[in-house]
Structure formats: C-alpha cells, structure tokens
C-alpha cells in the first residue's frame, strides 16, 4: 500500500488536524467528537445544515463546510458511516434555534446512524428534518430493497439547500427544496481501477488490464457489471443514457451537468468526458445551464468518474449561484 499517511488508524484524525491548521478562518474542528463545524456556528435563527458519511470521499463533506453550504460535517472512518454521537454533537453545534437539516446519503449505515442521532436530538428538543439522497440509477429502485445509493446529487444538494438556508428560509422550506433537488437529479459512476482502504492495505477488488466496472458507488465496491474497457465516448454514453431516460429529460430542458472524478483520474480526462457529455446533451437539445467538473465526491485514489444531471428550476439556479465560501467550493465572496 502506497499512501501519504502515517498509521492507517490515524488518517482521518490527522487530516482533520490538517484542516484545522489550514482552514481556521472557515471552520473549527472538534477533534473529540470528530466533526468539522463552520467557524461562526451556530447562527441564531438560521437553519443548520449538516451532513456526514464515511471518510475517503474528500472534499465531501468537510470541504463543503462554510458560508452558504454546510454548517457541519461528520466524517466517519474510511468508507464507514459516522456514529450517532458525532451527528448529535454536530446537530447541537449548529442549532441556532431554527432547526437542523440532516443530509443523509442512502446507505443502510448512514440512514440508521442518522436516524438514531435525529431521535437523540429531538429528545433534546432540537427540531430535525432529514433528506435521504438516492440518485444512483445503477441500482434498481424498490421499496423492498435498500434502494438506490446517494451519490453525486448530494454535492449539488448541499450547495443549493445551503444557499437557501443562508438566505434565511425556514426548515420546512429547506427540507422541501432538498427533496426536490434529490427528485430531479440522477447519477451513475464507473471505475477503471479499485482503491485501497488504508486499514485493509490491499485493493478492494482486482480488475484486469482491459476491464472496467460500470455502476459503482463511492465506497470502492465493485459495480453492477464488469465489462471490457471502452473509449471515453462509449463510457459517457453508458453513464448518461440511463440518467437521461430515468430522469425523463426532454428537448428544451436545462440541467446542471456534473462530471465528477473518483479521485485518481486526472482532470484532463474529466474534460474529455465532459466534452462527450456536452455532445450527447446537445444532440438531445438539452442545455447545460450550469456545470461542475472535478473531484468532489471521491473514492480515495480510484480512477474513474461519475456523471450527475440535475434538472434545474429557477430557485435551484438562484441558490446554486448564491455566494459560497468553503475549502472546496467558493464563489461570490
């Protein structure tokens, strides 16, 4: 295992210390509770917005804490949902009296831990609303199963509802918007390589030199199917087509196009994919009103990418464009 780390068990803690050392203008790090909190939290009268999940997806979520996005993030061990204690501590730290929104990605672990945390927070008199993102079209949707994973839409949702909460919207409206963004967004991902969880020390799966995994999540897991390596054009087609059809995108509609790197793929390749995606959308007369290209929701050093399309409405555009100042996303201030 080749990593820039000291001991595998210290990676998350030391990265938090690094964040604390370099971003003290933006956030404070509560090392005991293992949470990252916006420096000026709690803001009286503002809805608090928190999220969390396993580490290894950086910059998500810690890199999104700051003005106009998250009030706190709860990083778990690598690829492991954080525990209710962290979520409760974060909820309390950001509660300005207007309630707190929990943004939860749909994984059994995340859902169960956030559920317990919400119960505990409510028992302490804090109003909590939750949204569970489940945008991954690679997974069959069914009420009898664990359902679809929450992936790329989570990033967009955190920005949009973060902007809305910053603008002073009440909890119910923020939660309703969160649900709306989740409903209007879909994603799909693929991997060229596996990644190595530091505590495990070897790759999660083995992939032949001419193989790739289609329909992966963000936890270094294998995908829905293993296929022969293909060109960027073919791969983009494989990811974009199910998204467009699941979302029922029609000619004349406008989207936010998000080309996300899994961590180990260079930016130049993401732009090659972005180019293919732009061609596909243009061919269907769907306009790209906003876009995001880069490594935002990752799987450690996995090579690969995911595509997310979000059908935009005017409110979403307004809050997407609203000022944000976090370690990983910043504009307008």
């Amino acid at each position: 295992m080749k990593k820039l780390i000291n001991k595998p068990e210290d990676v998350v803690k030391e990265a938090l210390e690094g964040i604390a050392a370099l971003h003290s203008d933006l956030v404070r790090v509560d090392l005991e509770n293992q949470i990252i909190v916006r420096a000026d939290a709690p803001l009286q009268g503002k809805v608090g917005v928190i999220s969390g999940g396993g580490s290894g997806h950086e910059p998500m979520h810690g890199g999104f804490v700051g003005h106009g996005m998250l009030d706190a993030a709860c990083p778990g061990a690598i690829f492991t949902s954080p525990v209710p204690d962290q979520m409760l501590a974060a909820t309390k730290a950001v509660n300005g009296g207007a309630g707190v929104l929990h943004i939860v990605k749909n994984y059994t672990g995340d859902v169960l831990n956030f559920e317990m945390a919400a119960e505990l927070a409510q028992a302490e008199g804090i109003e909590v609303a939750s949204v569970v993102t489940n945008d991954d079209v690679a997974v069959q949707d069914s009420t009898y199963t664990a359902g679809r994973r929450g992936v790329g839409v989570t990033v967009l949702l955190e920005k949009i509802v973060g902007g809305m909460a910053e603008a002073g919207a009440p909890l119910a409206a923020v939660a309703e918007m969160a649900q709306r963004v989740n409903n209007q967004g879909r994603s799909m991902g693929m991997a060229l390589t596996s990644c190595t969880v530091p505590a495990k020390g070897s790759p999660t799966f083995e992939l032949g030199a001419d193989e790739m995994e289609i329909g992966i999540g963000i936890h270094g897991e294998p995908g829905r199917r293993r296929v022969k390596l293909a060109s960027a054009a073919e791969i983009t087609e494989m990811l974009a087509t199910p998204i467009i059809s699941d979302l029922g995108l029609k000619a004349g509609e406008r989207v936010l196009a998000f080309v996300n790197g899994m961590g180990g793929t260079p930016l130049i390749e993401l732009y090659v994919v972005a180019n293919e995606l732009a061609k596909i959308l243009k061919g269907k007369n769907i306009s790209i009103a906003r876009s995001l290209v880069g490594n935002y929701i990752t799987s450690l050093e996995m090579a690969g990418c995911s595509i997310t399309l979000l059908r935009l409405d005017d409110d979403m555009i307004r809050y997407w464009d609203a000022p944000v100042h976090t370690a990983a996303l910043r504009w307008g201030m």
Binding site: G76, I78, S81, L112, A138, K200, H219
Partner: protein
C-alpha cells in the same frame, strides 16, 4: 450451569479477541460484496468494548450488555454499528438486573436481540444479512428449550444453526445492505454480517463449553 457475570465478561473478552483475529477475514468477505470494512468496524467496536468492561465488571449482566450496545453504537458506525448496538441494548434490557442467565433467559435475550435488529434494519430472513444467521439460531434455541436441552447443548445448537444459516447466505441474492447494490453479482459470496453473527454465538458457546 447458568451464564454468570464472569462468563459474560470472559465471553466478551474472547469475542473481542476472535473479532481481532478474524478482522481481515471479515473484511475480505465485505470486500467481495461490500466496502471492505466489516472486520475493521467490528474490531474497532469490540476493542472499545474491552476498554469499557473493567468499569462495568461488577454490575449485572443486563447493564454489561447495555454498555456493550451503547459502545458499539458509538464506535462501530456503518450498518453493523446500529444493528449490533441495538441487538446488545435490547439483549441488555431483556436481562436487566440479572446476575445469571438460565436457558429461558438466554432465549429471551436472543429473542430481544433479533427483534432489535429486525426493527432497526427491516430485514427479513433470506435477504443475505446477519438476520440469516441469527434467526435460525433463535429458532434453534426455542426448540432446544422444548427439547429440554441443557444450556451448553442449547448454545451448541444455536451455534450450529447460525453456522448453517451463515453458509446458506452464499447462494442468496442480497436485497438489503450494501451487497444489494451488486444485484445478481452478490450471489456466491458469504455475508460478512452473518459471519460475525455466527462468531458471536460460537464464542459464547465455546466460552460456556470449556
């Protein structure tokens, strides 16, 4: 010969050791159909449990098990943290105030644990989860009481049923947990949670059998 406080503490310590030894094995099982952390999670949680044990060593079995439950909730994370946490919490509630557990107590404890897991995780048998090991074990415990088995026999039957249930997860297609994302590719792999569940029961049985 009932389960005493001392047996409980010995079980938990041996369980922590067993999970540490099986850390890579459980993680490897999870790598195939999950995210390669189950062994790491369980090891981290039970290491924390052993650190908590001295402080509760003089309490009743219910309190000890509840401490195990809250510790797991606070340290494991993932799906298994809330599930095993709830299981031990409920087991602790079912054995509240007890200084020893007879056959009927053990059955009540196992019933409570299973119900806790089902209430949290909403999984039924056949979905390729820890329930597939625990549910047959609980059934075997009930049958053993009816068959008037002694405690050791009861635990052995429990353990055998859990092992069989664990192995039967191999051909199943997962519909709950992370393995469900793999669809038909989840077939042919043993569920990591069912495996840790069997380890928990086996360690209890072994502790009492010696």
């Amino acid at each position: 010969m009932p389960i005493t406080i001392d047996d409980t503490l010995r079980w938990l310590q041996r369980l922590a050791d067993a999970l540490h030894e099986n850390r890579d094995y459980l993680t490897q099982l999870d790598a195939a159909i999950g995210d390669a952390d189950h062994g790491i999670n369980m090891d981290r949680g039970f290491k924390a449990v052993t650190e908590k044990l001295p402080a509760v060593a003089s309490m009743d079995i219910g309190s000890i098990l509840k401490t195990v439950g809250t510790t797991l909730v606070s340290t494991v994370g993932g799906a298994s943290g809330p599930l095993y946490g709830t299981a031990f919490l409920r087991a602790g509630m079912a054995t509240a105030g007890k200084h020893e557990l007879d056959e009927a107590d053990v059955v009540a404890m196992l019933d409570a644990a299973l119900e806790g897991i089902k209430a949290r995780g909403k999984a039924q048998p056949g979905e390729k989860t820890m329930v597939d090991a625990l549910a047959p074990a609980v059934e075997a415990a009930h049958e053993a009481v009816q068959a008037k088995c002694d405690l050791i026999q009861l635990l052995q039957r429990c353990c055998a049923a859990a092992e069989e249930g664990m192995k039967k997860t191999i051909p199943l297609q997962a519909t709950k947990g992370r393995a469900s994302y793999l669809g038909e590719r989840s077939v042919g792999h043993q569920d990591p949670g069912a495996t840790s569940c069997w380890l928990i029961l086996k360690t209890l049985s072994d502790t009492m059998g010696q």
